[in-house]
């Protein structure tokens, strides 16, 4: 099923993506005919159960995975491999432990050949944007998990990408930290009008942050339904207490529940088969 296109001109267009792992009869169809657009300044989340191919889709769009069918375009231009317009934030902790916070954030500016003084000044702006003032000279080992993820986001923002692509950046964090970091992401989105595509399995996070939520099916990963989130902006995490928010969560969950159940059933079946083979 193809998702409804965004109303404004899309900055990112994903068309008919099919990704298989392996070949022949043993080939695993991970992503099947996924198509959607993301408009400039829009915040879109893709939600699905574990193992539905969300991260595969993230890697395909980000250019880290090749050998797929379909097309990814940025402002109408086909993308092959990694693209300077797409900035990626990874699920796993990805700060460079040997660099201070400011040096981590200045990394893309350093690659661009910007003089040290200027790049540090610009990096400090992004450090401040993610709320890490005063931690510029600290090393990642001295920060909490949530702070380290904020450094990763600031580093990606410093490269000034047209599209921010995030793969479950807060998956490893507790629910309260996740909600508060969601506020930070909302503030950044508000300030920069940053086009963002978030991959997540957390319904609350998806509804809290997004303009649209795309629900994926469990294996092979297809787009099942699109939910336009018509909640007022600017938002904060306080919105999770509203009735409208609860209704969106309930609707998405009713769609996702079936897929998540299939995932769990599939997991149990494979575990049982492995046990019998032994």
């Amino acid at each position: 099923m193809s998702a409804a296109p965004a109303t404004a001109a899309p900055v990112l267009a994903v068309a008919g993506i099919v990704k298989r792992f392996g070949a022949g009869d043993d080939a695993l169809l991970a992503v099947d005919r996924v198509s959607f657009d993301v408009a400039r300044g829009e915040f879109v989340s893709i939600i699905g159960p574990s193992g539905c191919g969300k991260s595969t889709l993230f890697n395909v769009i980000g250019g880290l995975l090749g050998d797929f069918e379909g097309r990814v375009t940025v402002d109408g231009q086909p993308v092959s491999g990694t693209h300077p317009a797409i900035g990626m934030v990874f699920q796993e902790e990805s700060t460079f432990p040997w660099r201070t916070v400011v040096d981590n954030v200045a990394f893309p500016l350093e690659l661009a050949g910007i003089p040290k003084r200027v790049r540090h000044e610009r990096a400090r702006h992004f450090v401040s944007m993610v709320g890490l003032d005063g931690f510029e000279r600290r090393y990642p080992a001295e920060l909490s998990g949530g702070m380290r993820q904020r450094v990763s986001i600031a580093r990606t923002l410093a490269s000034e990408p047209r599209i921010l692509l995030m793969d479950e950046p807060f998956a490893a964090l507790d629910e309260q930290t996740r909600l508060l970091l969601g506020d930070k992401v909302l503030q950044i989105h508000q300030a920069l009008r940053q086009t963002t595509l978030l991959i997540t399995h957390n319904i609350t996070e998806a509804v809290q942050l997004s303009d649209r939520v795309l629900v994926m099916t469990y294996r092979p990963g297809r787009l099942k339904r699109t939910f336009a989130i018509d909640l007022p902006r600017p938002r904060t995490s306080e919105i999770v207490g509203s009735d409208a928010f609860g209704r969106y969560v309930a609707h998405i969950w009713s769609d996702l529940r079936e897929e998540a159940s299939r995932g769990i059933h599939d997991d149990e079946l494979r575990t049982r088969e492995r046990g019998e083979q032994r």
């Binding site: 880290l64 990626m88 990805s94 460079f96 660099r99 690659l111």
Partner: protein
């Protein structure tokens, strides 16, 4: 508060020194009561008393400097060649599959026994000593360099790819800094191997440095002098460890936090 922290930081070295003094006192007592034969192990007090004598009469500062120079030569070769070979093995899978086992086998080979071959190639000179030290210390540096580079977390390499790093940038900005802590482990072990072999070859070929001094003093059956000279070898080792530690603090400041 500051004084309390300073005092607390003195506890580990003070404990180390006191343990050493205590061990020497116990040994002294065991020798004096006859449990340990004083013709095999001299009294620690005699060893201490021998230090100024061998410094004045046996040219210890010059010999100390000779051994230190040889160790510096071997260390420079270890860093330059060892790390480069490790990088090469990491870069080319075929080379790694072909050589890694051989390099590991070399680590357990008694290189020092090959000194006649080195004497034929380099003559009875400092070059022979440096080369044996270098070859003996090479395997841990190579293996740890490969391990460090191969152990770089996948996500860091993905970050590099997402920022479209060139191959050289990937190496300089991600792989090398990520591998450095492991490479340092290899260098420390390599330095120990190198120093043992340097002093051993000095002893065997009776050429320069502290190894030759130990040989001469042992042949004269000057046991306190022999043990005092061994103390100076330990001093060289400590010197290299301190330098290595300083380099690590300088290159890896995040590891000290």
């Amino acid at each position: 508060m500051g004084r309390r922290i300073a005092a607390r930081s003195l506890v580990p070295p003070a404990t180390g020194v006191l343990t050493l003094v205590g061990a020497f006192a116990v040994l002294e007592a065991l020798i004096r009561v006859g449990v340990v034969n004083r013709f095999v192990v001299p009294l620690p007090s005699q060893v201490l008393a021998a230090i100024p004598r061998i410094v004045a009469e046996e040219g210890v500062p010059y010999r100390f400097w000779q051994t230190t120079q040889e160790a510096i030569g071997a260390s420079v070769l270890l860093v330059v060649v060892g790390v480069a070979l490790g990088m090469l093995l990491f870069r080319f899978d075929v080379l790694r599959s072909a050589c890694e086992t051989w390099v590991a086998a070399l680590a357990s080979a008694p290189i020092v026994l090959m000194y006649p071959l080195f004497l034929v190639i380099f003559g009875r000179s400092a070059t022979t000593i440096v080369m044996i030290g270098f070859i003996a210390g090479l395997p841990p540096v190579i293996l740890k360099t490969v391990e460090g580079l191969a152990g770089t977390r996948r996500v860091l390499l993905d970050v590099g790819r997402s920022f479209r790093l060139s191959e050289a940038q990937r190496f300089r900005k991600i792989l090398m800094p990520a591998a450095l802590p492991t490479i340092f482990v290899g260098m420390r072990v390599g330095l120990i191997f190198a120093l043992i072999n340097i002093v051993g070859v000095e002893f065997l070929i009776n050429f320069g440095g502290l190894g030759q001094l130990i040989n001469e003093l042992a042949e004269r059956y000057d046991l306190p002098g022999t043990y005092a000279a061994i103390g100076f070898v330990i001093l060289v080792s400590i010197l290299f460890f301190v330098v290595c530690e300083r380099a690590e603090v300088w290159l890896l400041p995040h590891r000290q936090r």
